[in-house]
Amino acid sequence: MASARPVLEAPEIGRVLTRIAHEVLERNRGADDLVLLGIPTRGTHLARRVAERLVAAEPGAGPLEQLVGSLDVTMHRDDLRRNPVRALGRTSLPPGGVDDRVVVLVDDVLFSGRTVRAALDALSDLGRPRAVRLAVLVDRGHRQLPIRADHVGKNLPTAAEESVRVMLEEVDGRDAVLISGPDGAPEPTTEPAAEPAPGAADAEGAR
């Protein structure tokens, strides 16, 4: 994608995740009762990276396996009937479960908020956390539901028809956040498309 413009590169992503880890610790006054749940696919890897930084920063934080898990939201999505059928991701909770703990949901891009809505529903089937917070690498705006993030890596003003793509070493072989115009066209120097591209809403939770 020659037309995609990078907005974050690997070193910045690393610094942003370190900051988020510290914010999470500060907000929670330590690592007690914390559980980080990543939303597959990329949220899972981000959750793991934040947890690694958290363990490094806080001597009292438990081993990584007690701290991090993944939460697949596919079966709770409200747009299943609008798209071809999706494969399922993995849900795995740390041994203590989520009851009475503070769950931090981690995802790559916050867009419409629908993925987070699905995650909250999925979470309520797994237990009753004491509190749920949300950490995202990129908040690109255009919310369709009353949802906000507690910890944001970067606020990224975008047009609805632009697409934001997060690439991670574990999945894509490199770390970057890219933004591109509709249909991968260069910056919208010409007239923008009359309607948002049908695929634009899928950029969130792209897998």
Partner: protein, 317 residues
Amino acid sequence: MRHLLSAADLSREGALELLDVAEEMAATQAREIKKLPTLRGRTVVNLFFEDSTRTRISFEAAAKRLSADVITFSAKGSSVSKGESLKDTALTLQAMGADAVVLRHSASGAAHRLAHAGWSGVGVLNAGDGTHEHPTQALLDAFTLRRRLAERAGGDPARVLEGARVAVVGDVLHSRVARSNVLLLETLGADVVLVAPPTLLPVGVGTWPCRTSWDLDAVLPDVDAVMVLRVQRERMGGGGFFPSAQEYTRRFGLDGRRLRLLPDHALVMHPGPMNRGLEISAEAADSPRSTIVEQVANGVAVRMAALYLLLAGEDAA
């Protein structure tokens, strides 16, 4: 996936995707809250023209765990006993807003007819048609086998069944389970051998992608699993397929002595219901290597996966 009619319709990728989805479904069934909202607003009709307990209950549980509405329709006590045709029944179901039909019928090809005759646009899941196919049973057998072999050997779940050796023993002639299993296991790369008296092998078995044998004792030491089929005496009419039940048991029954011929890791499978004492002894059926109860539990997860793949996506119609 539009319909699930035959194990032969599944590509290797399609079958593995279904097994992977079933693995996630099984994980949800280990939780306190087993119900998922995924198929809310969809209607699944269980259309059973033939007696069945476990398949019907399994499909019903699977659909309900995914929040679909389930209408169960058995031929007894319905208009079918008044002579209504499959076509008219299908039109009735469509008028009621069914999204998928799970069909069990005594006629081979009934599910194919319902899916392709142009009577209605609903998705069809074959839950056993005559002596032809029973694809979800084959899928749950493959799921059980894959899980157990992966626990033992580890490795890439997509390749666990490659080269696995499976013996299918007994009444192959009347068994829809055998045909579906042979086709699916071949797709997944397993090596299947059918063991049966010549009278209980179908005509044309030479064209199936498997080997055949008449000597169970010679086969058992080299398999990873033995699937025992039910002797379907209700389909045998006047008999004549084997001289006596005792002789069948002596030649092809899985008893304690034959159990000890199996390698240590080998599994004993049976699609149920069992004729204890005929094709399988109590010792074999209740031994620790028997997966018979596990197969039933896995059946729900596999059928959830099939319903999910059939119904969760955008409307194909």
